[in-house]
Symmetry: C2
Subunit: 497 residues, 2 copies
């Protein structure tokens, strides 16, 4: 049995090495690569992904997984080796169901669709993008066909990002959010909070300050790097080699929140148990749980008053000319300003959820065929006005704004908002377990929270399902109430704003 | 036949993709990686190399190479497809001869040996390094045994770096060099030339100036990157994605010559015919020919008076405080100062060759068993004094200085000096074909030389053997006389120094 487990681990480590190599090439392309390298880089990446896939779906891995059932069943449910066999079996069975030709066509449609979208967005030309949307929808139908029928075909797509969570479960949570968010947004619409001044905030000072904040949260130079890229992201090449990127604009301080967001993702990857290295378990548990950590550090911590008590003098010292006279209270209010706007990635904590709910609903209707891609802009604009009170003036500020659909990523958007919901559930659990957290934040000490998250969440990696993981951390299932309570307390009528 | 050729190309492209991915991971490790990533990175690299090797030595590739013989023979000798089949067959037959276990043991000994060497060099403790040298020698004997007997076992090692060139041929060239270099070094020993002042040369200004010089030579930001690393190097991820690195020290201007050296390697890789992309032909022809290009741009061009007529005002503008008053003539003499010293990588154009000849001779004696590793430091020091007139005071400045032996790279050193020899042969051919080159250099115009080298040498990649390639470029075989003539004219008794 030991020899079989060793063989399984050896084969999975190889696959992990190949996938991680692809992550390095991907990161290099987005951060550093000279532009003329793009065409060949796409070939290199396709090869790595194909070879990794071939090695993963190898029949021998399936045999080993069968032969290791007795071992799996003899171990506790959360023993590393039991989890490895169980989770790998799920992954393997899923990967085997998708024919190589369909996977290749989806990958091709994804990269071509993204190119077409970039041009269509630049031109504000939805009609030019629409055929790609139809192609992706056709491919999604073919993809859904590869699996046992689900209660809702959208379940199959969602499962790739939030395994085990159903469309009905998400809908129930989102409907509850909608009940409270729509009136809260309408009530906040006219509250006049000044934003931060428009700079200039020199890029070098932004970089240094972002690094200072991230370092307080747990960024160590021995195992992290911060670089720049057009689209900020975080990726992991090993549990001890985490790459975060940010984007800088002299006219605002968004880079600071980007840093807090991406280090949240990074701390999760860095906190995975080293025993899981080079296995399929060595990554965050789901897109939603991952986002819960970027949002926890960015918003729940990084936009809190205790954080700002510590951070405000540092911010002033970094930009004395622009912010030297701006009091703590005004800064805190400015970074928590609620103001409906068109672009999701610029949205505040309160309006953000409605951007997501809108997309979640449209995705389901497109997939079900109750909404045609021809009618999508109209549907988008109508619902946007209903949810956020703004009339969309052009598709670039509406249906064309996000890259996700162009790459065929349907089912991904809802995990952003699930992340927000879970971030507050997890925060409440941490606060209950760790008295005095906010006093520590005021001193710039985030270590107790970091250690608790590492021990209770990050270390687990993908050992358990997302539902099991959340249950273990917060003692219950997905629940929108803590998040709504948090928003009401921070932004509601009685809030100290 | 077309289908077979297409299958061969598809399989070779995959291997090339995997090897290139390894190059990206390697580069990232040397340039950027946080230190804690090292252990896992070694595993990732080992997997990529193993998978690439397995795919390359696959029996199906051998079958295709056999089946494609008629095609190969129907095409001109230098047709891309004929070269692909011919060169791949040679590579494949060579790769198949080395058992996977031996290759793995050599790779392991290489990385472990380099670690042991780094510690031994830091401590100046040759005895601690000696067992690794013995281990490498034993592995080299096993490696040599994998091949048909050669006239000299060293031929087998040399063939990995300078295919087709024999030990006897190198020895004949080196013996001829020795005849002239040893007396020339002795004669120059007492010539008093002042070096450049010891700075300070701010790193940012060095970087900008290095980039300016490289740009004049052909560095384009669309397909090149310049980064920093402890050991400068050049690598290629695609014909249009070339990475060069340099190292900066405020106390000297070595970084400028490093830039000229590495861009020479880079221009070679960048100039390979795009038709050869993702084939085994898409790299420089041999270590010696590669070095001929780094040396041509660094020394023959970059230390020439015409280059300095263009470069001197730029250098003065970059460092006005330190060099503002230093005349052209004095700068030119300073960067061509001959002074025997202990460290090879710091050696000038005249003494450099003797550093190499020394190592070439000792390597052969170690391999033949006529010199024991126990007696190596003594042999090194005696010969160093004979060739360079200096008594080696400690092993750190002697036998422990280079990394090559610690990684098991025997047979590599001679290609450095072959590169110097070929660089002048190629320079003479270019100058004969292109009148007015030096006048162009004085104007900062290096494009005619670059274009000639691209057309006559770089574009060929590995299509022909190194000997065929050199013959095609210079119209004759390896010949030390142009190099000796160049040194005599530049440094001899009658030279205008």
């Amino acid at each position: 049995m030991d020899a079989k487990l060793a063989e399984l681990k050896r084969r999975l480590a190889e696959v992990d090495d190949l996938r991680s190599a692809a992550a390095v090439l991907d990161w290099d392309q987005m951060v550093l690569m000279p532009p003329a390298g793009a065409a060949v880089r796409a070939e290199r990446l396709a090869t790595l992904q194909r070879v990794a896939h071939e090695r993963f779906v190898d029949g021998r891995i399936g045999e080993l997984l069968e032969e290791l059932r007795p071992l799996e069943q003899s171990l506790p449910h959360d023993a590393d080796d039991a989890c490895l066999v169980r989770v790998t079996r799920t992954d393997w069975e899923k990967a085997r169901r998708v024919p190589a030709d369909l996977a290749a066509e989806m990958a091709k449609a994804s990269s071509e669709g993204m190119e077409a979208w970039a041009a269509a967005r630049a031109a504000g030309d939805y009609a030019a993008f629409r055929p790609w949307l139809d192609r992706h929808l056709a491919l999604k139908h073919a993809y859904v066909e590869c699996f046992e029928p689900a209660a809702d075909p959208y379940d199959i797509l969602l499962d790739d990002f939030e395994p085990g969570t159903t469309t009905a479960e998400v809908r129930a949570v989102f409907d509850r959010l909608k009940e409270e968010l729509v009136p809260l947004i309408a009530a906040l619409r006219d509250s006049a909070v000044d934003p931060l001044p428009p700079g200039p905030y020199p890029v070098e000072a932004q970089r240094a300050l972002g690094l200072e904040a991230m370092t307080a949260l747990g960024f160590e130079p021995s195992s992290f790097r911060l670089d720049s890229s057009v689209h900020p992201f975080c990726t992991s090449f090993a549990i001890s080699d985490i790459r975060v990127t940010a984007r800088y604009d002299e006219g605002d301080l968004e880079s600071l929140f980007t840093c807090l967001h991406e280090i949240g993702h990074g701390l999760y990857e860095r906190g995975i148990s080293p025993e899981l290295e080079r296995t399929p378990l060595a990554s965050g548990c789901s897109s939603g749980l991952h986002e819960s950590q970027s949002r926890l550090w960015e918003n729940v911590v990084g936009r809190s008053l205790p954080f700002w008590r510590w951070f405000h003098p540092r911010l002033q010292a970094a930009f004395p000319g622009v912010l030297g006279d701006m009091p703590l209270e005004a800064c805190y209010r400015a970074v928590n300003r609620v103001s409906p706007s068109f672009i999701r990635v610029d949205a505040d904590e309160v309006t953000y959820g409605m951007h997501i709910i809108l997309r979640f609903e449209l995705e389901q209707e497109l997939l079900a065929g109750t909404l045609s891609s021809a009618d999508l802009p109209e549907a988008w604009n109508a619902r946007f006005e209903e949810y956020l009170g703004l009339a969309v003036p052009e598709d670039r500020l509406g249906v064309l704004q996000d890259v996700h659909w162009s790459g065929g990523a349907f089912g991904y958007f809802p995990t952003y908002q699930l992340g927000n919901v879970m971030s507050v559930q997890i925060w409440e659990a941490a606060r209950a377990a760790l008295p005095g957290l906010e006093e520590q934040f005021e001193q710039g000490d985030f270590s107790a929270l970091g250690a608790w998250l590492r021990e209770n969440l990050y270390a687990l990696g993908r050992k358990l399902t997302p539902k099991e993981t959340l249950e273990r951390v917060v003692g219950g299932p997905l629940d929108p109430e803590p998040y709504l309570r948090y928003l009401r307390e921070k932004y509601g009528a009685g809030a100290s704003r």
